[in-house]
């Protein structure tokens, strides 16, 4: 697959475990009150050789991460969560509220958090991104979405995707001003695709500083 090849080219051999052995196994915490969705996301992640912990509420997620305020004797050195994927609409604590709590914590504020929702409400999306969500995924989540996330988390940077190219106009219309909370710097896309629109390239959005642009990424079948 050309995309995978492009990612590998950007990295030194030492960084990438081409065989994808257990040293590179990603541990994902999935949070969703729907059992159907938990089963699907779990399978998507397992298909990509990720370790999955699936919980049914924001509260349980906090408990799992040790952020619920309870004194715990478990050391968190061995609790490595590389990515948190949470549904937005959940009873009790929404995904947004969970996101805030995670970003407030010292232990997990650097952990990428992805919000999932079957509804594309712009205010909701912006709010999540401003609070530090890595991405806002439209449900139903597809294998290609999770693949892209995995590559990102494993240090592959942005994967150029046709679906992102299709949504470029939406991004340009809705991209918020940068200068809010700092966001992770995405390495410039170095793939050969002429139509590639990695948001860190400033050719089509000159007003946005490449290193701190907040990307509004809506990925859905459209």
């Amino acid at each position: 697959m050309t995309m995978a090849g492009e990612i590998l080219r950007r990295q030194s051999p030492a960084e990438v475990d081409v065989c994808g052995g257990s040293a590179q196994e990603l541990h994902v915490l999935a949070v969703d009150d729907s059992l159907v969705d938990r089963k699907v996301i779990e399978k998507l992640l397992k298909r990509l050789s990720c370790k999955v912990t699936a919980v049914d509420s924001g509260l349980r997620a906090l408990q799992y991460l040790g952020l619920d305020g309870e004194k715990s004797s478990v050391g968190f050195d061995d609790l490595k969560v590389n990515l948190i994927m949470t549904d937005y609409s959940m009873p009790g604590m929404t995904g947004y509220e969970l996101l805030k709590k995670i970003k407030e914590s010292s232990a997990f504020r650097e952990t990428p958090v992805v919000i999932m929702s079957s509804e594309r409400i712009l205010a909701r999306i912006n709010r999540c991104l401003e609070e530090g969500a890595e991405e806002f995924l439209a449900k139903p989540v597809k294998l290609s979405d999770v693949e892209r996330l995995k590559n990102f988390v494993m240090g592959g940077g942005e994967v150029c995707s046709d679906r992102r190219i299709n949504k470029r106009r939406l991004e340009e219309n809705n991209d918020r001003d940068d200068g809010h909370a700092p966001s992770p710097v995405s390495p410039p896309c170095s793939c050969d695709r002429a139509a590639c629109t990695s948001s860190s390239s400033d050719s089509s959005s000159p007003s946005i500083a490449p290193s701190s642009s907040k990307r509004l990424k809506i990925h859905h079948q459209g």
């Binding site: 009150d33 729907s34 059992l35 159907v36 969705d37 089963k39 699907v40 399978k43 998507l44 397992k46 298909r47 549904d87 609409s89 009873p91 079957s118 509804e119 449900k139 139903p140 597809k142 294998l143 079948q221």
Partner: protein
């Protein structure tokens, strides 16, 4: 069942799937579920769908109960159930059920009791149709699995 070759059953399954796609009952998310089924989870699709049936029937019952009281219909609660139903329906590719949920939710947002009742009836109807068709699909699939595992002398169609 003797004599129903694997090819025939494949054709039956594809015919039914095509019909359901054509009718807009299912969309490509259902295909995504099928793609996720593999040796490590050979019954993935039917397991997820079974969970979906259980969840949906509970939600439909709750919606019915909420609408029974004309005076005190709790529209907020209805919307919560509807969102859940919409979410899980879209996750399995049940497009028509999803669409009815959207219309239902619009009626609920307007506190339109009669509209909600109509929408619920339509929702129950669509759900019923979906459930019957999926059961049919699973039956064909089971027969196909049996037929391919059957150790009869080679019976060509």
């Amino acid at each position: 069942m003797l004599g129903w070759g694997v090819e025939f059953l494949w054709a039956e399954m594809n015919r039914l799937l095509s019909l359901l796609f054509h009718q807009g009952v299912l969309d490509e998310q259902f295909l995504q579920l099928q793609q996720l089924q593999d040796e490590s989870s050979p019954n993935f699709v039917s397991e997820v769908i079974t969970i979906y049936f259980h969840e949906s029937e509970k939600l439909l019952r709750n919606l019915r109960l909420l609408l029974m009281d004309r005076e005190l219909s709790d529209y907020k609660k209805m919307e919560i159930h509807l969102n859940q139903m919409m979410g899980s329906s879209s996750s399995i590719g049940a497009k028509r059920v999803c669409n009815v949920c959207v219309a239902f939710r619009a009626a609920s947002e307007q506190n339109n009791h009669a509209g909600c009742l109509r929408a619920l009836e339509l929702l129950e109807h669509e759900y019923c149709y979906l459930k019957n068709k999926l059961h049919e699909l699973f039956q064909i699939e089971q027969q196909r699995a049996l037929a391919s595992g059957a150790r009869y002398p080679a019976h060509q169609n």
